[in-house]
Symmetry: C3
Subunit: 344 residues, 3 copies
Amino acid sequence: MRYLNLLLLVIPVSIFLHLLNYSPVLLFLSACLSIIPLSGYMGKATEEIAIYVGPRAGGLLNATFGNAAELIITFFALKAGLVEVVKASITGSIIGNLLLVLGLSMLIGGFKFKSQKFNRAAAGMHTSMLLLAVTGLIIPAVFLHTHANPAAEPLSLGVAGILIIVYILSLIFSLHTHKDVFRPSQESSDSPKWSKLKTMTILLIATLFVVIESEFLVEGIDPVVNTLGISELFIGVIVIPIIGNAAEHSTSILMALKNKMDISLEIAIGSSTQIALFVAPLLVFVGYIIGQPLDLLFTSYELIVIIMGTVSTAVISLDGRSNWLEGAQLLGAYLIMALAFIFV
Amino acid sequence: MRYLNLLLLVIPVSIFLHLLNYSPVLLFLSACLSIIPLSGYMGKATEEIAIYVGPRAGGLLNATFGNAAELIITFFALKAGLVEVVKASITGSIIGNLLLVLGLSMLIGGFKFKSQKFNRAAAGMHTSMLLLAVTGLIIPAVFLHTHANPAAEPLSLGVAGILIIVYILSLIFSLHTHKDVFRPSQESSDSPKWSKLKTMTILLIATLFVVIESEFLVEGIDPVVNTLGISELFIGVIVIPIIGNAAEHSTSILMALKNKMDISLEIAIGSSTQIALFVAPLLVFVGYIIGQPLDLLFTSYELIVIIMGTVSTAVISLDGRSNWLEGAQLLGAYLIMALAFIFV
Amino acid sequence: MRYLNLLLLVIPVSIFLHLLNYSPVLLFLSACLSIIPLSGYMGKATEEIAIYVGPRAGGLLNATFGNAAELIITFFALKAGLVEVVKASITGSIIGNLLLVLGLSMLIGGFKFKSQKFNRAAAGMHTSMLLLAVTGLIIPAVFLHTHANPAAEPLSLGVAGILIIVYILSLIFSLHTHKDVFRPSQESSDSPKWSKLKTMTILLIATLFVVIESEFLVEGIDPVVNTLGISELFIGVIVIPIIGNAAEHSTSILMALKNKMDISLEIAIGSSTQIALFVAPLLVFVGYIIGQPLDLLFTSYELIVIIMGTVSTAVISLDGRSNWLEGAQLLGAYLIMALAFIFV
């Protein structure tokens, strides 16, 4: 986290580049770099507030704003009409969390510990929730691929509604009726490190700058595609998910190094579930309201990538143990999937 | 069950409508409603006879006539040349049992009991049999989608033959070589409630009326599609499976309320397996004989729906526990799949 | 094994047929038959050398030359430009090992023992490695189906590179960092049965004749396709994998009859993993070098067959027990898949 703070210095550079209207490619790069520490501060501040407001409201808060940075970036991308980028970044977030984050955590944790254990029952519960979330996300795509497309909008809205209801039910389950099943994660049970005023100020400023930098980033996508020959898909699937979740990723790896694989799994799988059940449907509604309809019509490749990422995670986590080879295998799968996008 | 008996009063209404040749839409609706209690009586009578003839012949009887009502409806639909309706109802029966019935059982049972346990080993055995049954069902479809179609008929017949042989082997397994593994289900171990004569009479009359009402129902499909704008697919995937299995469904929910989740799982998964291994192949042979060839060429959407339904059930049932959220998730998946068919 | 030796008598027949340039169909058949015992001797000799050089180098040897006969056959098929046959035989080897070999082992073992146990943890580890191997293999195919094909060659090379790196990592894992996790298999812990000289001589002669017979076999493919009406796909998916692995298959069944299901599973799943992680990528590189580019563009049908075979094996092996019905189900799935290829 501390080293990432150095990236805050890139913020003035990006603003300068924007004002000078100099190089959109450099603007894009500086926006990417500056979002990394900012999204980290947003996440940290949200966790602090969660401690102040108590476990239930705090759980709700984390559940709603856990992927806030990504939500902001994809909102501006959607506003700019980059629908394919948004869908690619939903795909990329899900597999990034499952394969890249979990893979790195298991690999690096596995270098330190020969075999790392985690709670099979909890992992199973998270995995089954993820699987059903993913099912909900892919069903309309498969249907729309094989049938008439005029129905894309009403169907996407209906499915988004059902997914958000299931998400609300899962919050009622974990925060109310079955809250004892989910052991409190170590971090949130800590006492707050920042004062209330400091927390709110940090959250406000970080969010403000994420908004600004997200606009810069989206502005720079077209020039980057035209100048560097990188595809929109690559930016959506690889770049946006990595910068939007970088801080979260480093937490997952740190926990693996402390042999707390349960938390690593919770971060990786929980974040993917949140994308599928909350972020994606929310973007469907937002797109409908702002007149940039986002159908859930993922490409066959996105579908297969999501399914294989989910199934791989399920199989790896079912035995309640991890080692460096499992991490390397997940990373290998991620690299193969990422490689494909370079050749688009 | 008792409330469902009131629906028997709809039988004379449907006959009246048929004789007057009045409204085919009302005829369709009345036929649907009257099949619900009739299929319940057929199932109950089959179980009674199973008790009289002893466990082995009884098991065979239940295995063969467990989905008799549905077999009769789909037979008449096939005879009328509604091949797509028949294939849709095979899909709908499989996911209806896995997602709707099991989902409702877990949801309603979960409202009463915080966590419900069931035998993991038995659930695993049923699930793996279901998975292999489903594999058999989808392989020819995938093959025929990607290769020449002229082979659809001989291939479908060959696959149907293999599936039925596996079904017969599974009966030998459960009723002969490994009968001790399958604990007798509570109901069939009860003593009979009806006399032999009463049982046979009820079975005969119920079957007779199911046959009549099935003809009415099939007769009404075209008018309903044209008048109400409901698609044939929707009738096949949603309507026919629900009315054909309604009585069975209520048993599954009742068992969940009695905390006997093992029986709920057995009904839901067992019935799906039976559809895939017995009903579907039988219809292929029947279609060949009556000159209405039924290939196993399911649409991509039907295939994905069947696969995701099976995998979801497998993941949910692998941990040997259920709760209301898992039920809600299965129901959510069912609603999303059903929603898609409304927009066809 | 002993009865298979009789097939060695077919070798002179095949050479005779080749010299006389008599019947290419008979040449094909005799080449097929003679490869069966030869590949058995190659495997046996490799195992003997593995004992002489010690566990680590021996493990490496088995891992590299375990599928040597198949590698030789597919090399000559590739050299002759029969790219589709090579891809089909990769598919066929994977499902042949998973469904045919494991199915037969469970079926025949299950006739002798009511229920056979095996190590769940080890089976789970093999299965998850297989799943990730298969993921790597299918991702490029799915991608290339939905996007532009010009990228097929560089993408296939890149993916092949990643797969081979993962394979090397898995060898480091099993032979170095976690060698204690993998219990030594019974055979390799035995003392050598042949002298060093005898072993080397047998290996040399067997390899030489496999090379000769593979050329005969490949030479005969076109005539067989034209004369007998058997498709290239059928030869690739069914014939080549069966003759290339026949000796290995008989070992797996023998182990099942000795109630050593762990070894049967290891042979079947391990061999499939080796095909996906080592043989397939190696053929990509070889094809590139000899100017017969082999993309990893499997057909949709091949993909589904590989996925369903893998998932079926995973589900069957997750409970740590097998019985004859599970064997029959795997065989049923194999027959259905094979049946489809007859109708091409």
